[in-house]
């Protein structure tokens, strides 16, 4: 594909050439017509002069004053008898009797082209009886044709010169006018997806290009943010798996040493494996959600039982961190949800609360049904969190920096919890302030659920 500049240049140059050639052709045609008309006028003048210079005496004809430039002359009677002139001068078959001249093209015996003017002529005679005569003269048009050829050549050369000048000027103007396009093209070509920090300069661009450049810059901004988030996510995910992996490896190696306790190590390894499984489940779930492949089931779920199930791995960590759990479960605790998805949501919420609650603090879990909604709340002290943090807590890759516990989380769990809750037609919100962090999860309850 040709460049825009070349295409515009070619179109403009073509248009200029066509217009100039057409102009030159029309001009040459007009000039030729004018010169021919002038030639014909001169021819007719000479014909009149020739007619007026005729004298008929003694049965003969005398000619006077038709001029030396006349190349041919003929005087022919109506019966076809040639009274004077050259034999190659043949009169037209019909001549108007009102004396108007008739002009025809002829070839002279030497091959030169000429133009002949004829007219019907009634000479005066003394006896008043005279016959109509056809009088004609011919003048070579070779000089005229040479002149016309010179004029045509001059016009052609002039047109080409003007065209070349115009195309040069056009190219210069196009170069200047399309310079922003060229610069933009070079800058866009230099954009590298691996280095998303580059931006297009928009200062000297015309409005239509500025819009393109600004849009491109906005896309680069988004790309850079996405890259940053992905990079942070990958680093955090690798980070998140490395620590339990180190624990797993060290536990096995220590158990294998003299005096090691393989039985105890087995239990520890199992616990570590469960934690790693939960983290990998989160990564896989995030991938499934991103691919749009997750279609949650909708069935009646005992949320109280799921809460207990999701809490199962927690007591050891609760003990480690000196936390206390306070439960307030009311009613039947039934909701319409996907049990596996909801279990993952609850596991992530518990994991989050246990990780970020200060050591020795209390985690409160409450669940109640009101009408067609089941509301579940998990609250814990969170001295470092404010309302802005609560707004971002569901963003993937966002991690709370104020707790110093960031190494253990990839910032996935809360984002997954929100996306899964949304897929289950539920709602999840986070509030933070006054040193307290609360997550509220609302799910449809069977009373208000339409079973199709």
């Amino acid at each position: 594909m040709m460049s825009l500049r070349l295409r515009v240049a070619l179109v403009c140059a073509g248009a200029v050439l066509v217009m100039l050639m057409l102009g030159a052709w029309l001009t040459a045609r007009h000039v030729a017509a004018g010169m021919r008309a002038g030639f014909d006028r001169v021819l007719v003048d000479h014909l009149g002069t020739a007619a007026s210079g005729l004298e008929f005496e003694h049965g003969g004809v005398e000619r006077h004053g038709q001029g030396p430039e006349v190349d041919g002359f003929a005087l022919i009677t109506s019966t076809g008898r040639r009274l004077a002139g050259q034999s190659w001068m043949q009169a037209p078959a019909h001549l108007p009797e009102d004396g108007r001249p008739t002009i025809v093209d002829l070839a002279m015996p030497d091959g030169r082209r000429c133009r002949a003017a004829w007219m019907s002529y009634l000479p005066e005679s003394d006896d008043g009886q005279s016959d109509r005569l056809a009088i004609g003269i011919a003048i070579s048009i070779e000089p005229l044709l040479r002149q016309l050829a010179d004029i045509r050549d001059a016009l052609l050369i002039g047109a080409v010169a003007v065209a070349a000048t115009l195309i040069g000027v056009l190219a210069l103007l196009l170069g200047r006018m399309l310079a922003p396009h060229g610069r933009l093209a070079v800058e866009v070509e230099a954009l590298d997806p691996r280095l998303p920090g580059r931006r297009l300069a928009t200062g000297d661009l015309p409005p239509e290009l500025r819009t393109i450049a600004e849009r491109t810059n906005q896309l680069c901004d988004r790309l850079e943010r996405a890259y940053g988030l992905a990079s942070s996510f990958h680093a955090a995910a690798a980070h998140e798996l490395r620590t339990p992996l180190a624990g797993l490896r060290a536990t096995i190696e220590v158990a294998g040493q003299p005096g090691g306790d393989p039985q105890r190590a087995l239990g520890t390894c199992h616990a570590i494996a469960m934690q790693m499984q939960a983290r990998i489940d989160n990564l896989l779930m995030a991938a499934r959600i991103d691919a749009g492949k997750l279609v949650p089931r909708r069935e009646e779920v005992d949320v109280h039982a799921l809460l207990r199930s999701a809490w199962e791995p927690a007591p050891e960590r609760i003990r480690e961190r000196g936390l206390e759990a306070l439960w307030d479960l009311q009613g039947e605790g039934l909701a319409i949800a996907d049990p596996e998805a909801l279990r993952m949501v609850l596991a992530n919420l518990f994991d989050n609360a246990i990780s970020y609650a200060p050591a020795g603090s209390r985690i409160e879990v409450s669940c109640a049904t009101a009408g067609d909604r089941l509301t579940l709340r998990i609250a814990n002290p969170a001295p470092g969190l404010d309302a802005d943090d609560a707004a971002r807590v569901f963003q993937r890759g966002w991690r709370c920096a104020s707790t110093g516990d960031e190494v253990r989380h990839a910032g996935l769990g809360m984002g997954i919890a929100r996306e899964l809750t949304g897929l289950m037609s539920g709602r999840i919100e986070a509030r933070a302030g006054d040193g307290r962090f609360t997550v509220e999860l609302v799910l449809p309850a069977p009373a208000g659920f339409d079973y199709w």
């Binding site: 690798a238 090691g260 520890t268 480690e320 050591a359 110093g404 516990d405 190494v407």
Partner: protein, 224 residues
Amino acid sequence: MRALVIEDYGPLREAVSTALRGAGFAVDASGDGREGDWFADGGTHDIVVLDLGLPGMDGLELLRRLRARGSQAHVLIVTARDQVEDRCAGLDAGADDYLVKPFAVPELLARVRALLRRAYQRKDPVLRIRDLEIDTARRLARRAGRDLDLTPREFALLQFLALRAGETVPREDIRAHLYDFRSDNGSNVIDVYIGYLRRKIDGDGQERLLHTRRGHGWILGDAP
């Protein structure tokens, strides 16, 4: 030798602590940055195994505080952060070595031993005092070509005395460097172990290497 392990991931903290105890170290362990800082404030640890991502206080901050207090403890950072800038930040903050998770426990122990030699300005892992040889890497001791059968605690005591061979080592130093925070070290346990050690290295009528300076401590090597 006394080590402090500051690692918030419980299973890893426990495994590393166990490995270090098996290598003859007295080990204090903590899963919280602030508590770890409190432990380190005692200034009696030869080695600190330090994670960076800690609740309570970031590992780098803890390290900076440690160095600001003038601590000479040798610090080995053990972390999942593997970027060059992370390593540089850790070493520039005052760490002596850097190990990325996951790691092999033998490598961790080898690095700890190397740091320990550096702490006592030794290059050779084999300590020699006349005809007594202590191989700190293989944890073997022999005298006059005869292997000594030492318990981990006895080996640790011998290694500590050998690292300071020729100088009087006070009881307080032994207590500080060989017994962890939870140990019951209020009794005459040090005298008991000195007695065990003396019988094993100076037995069979050999020339005495372990000398007592009453009221001051013990000397391994030539008598003053």
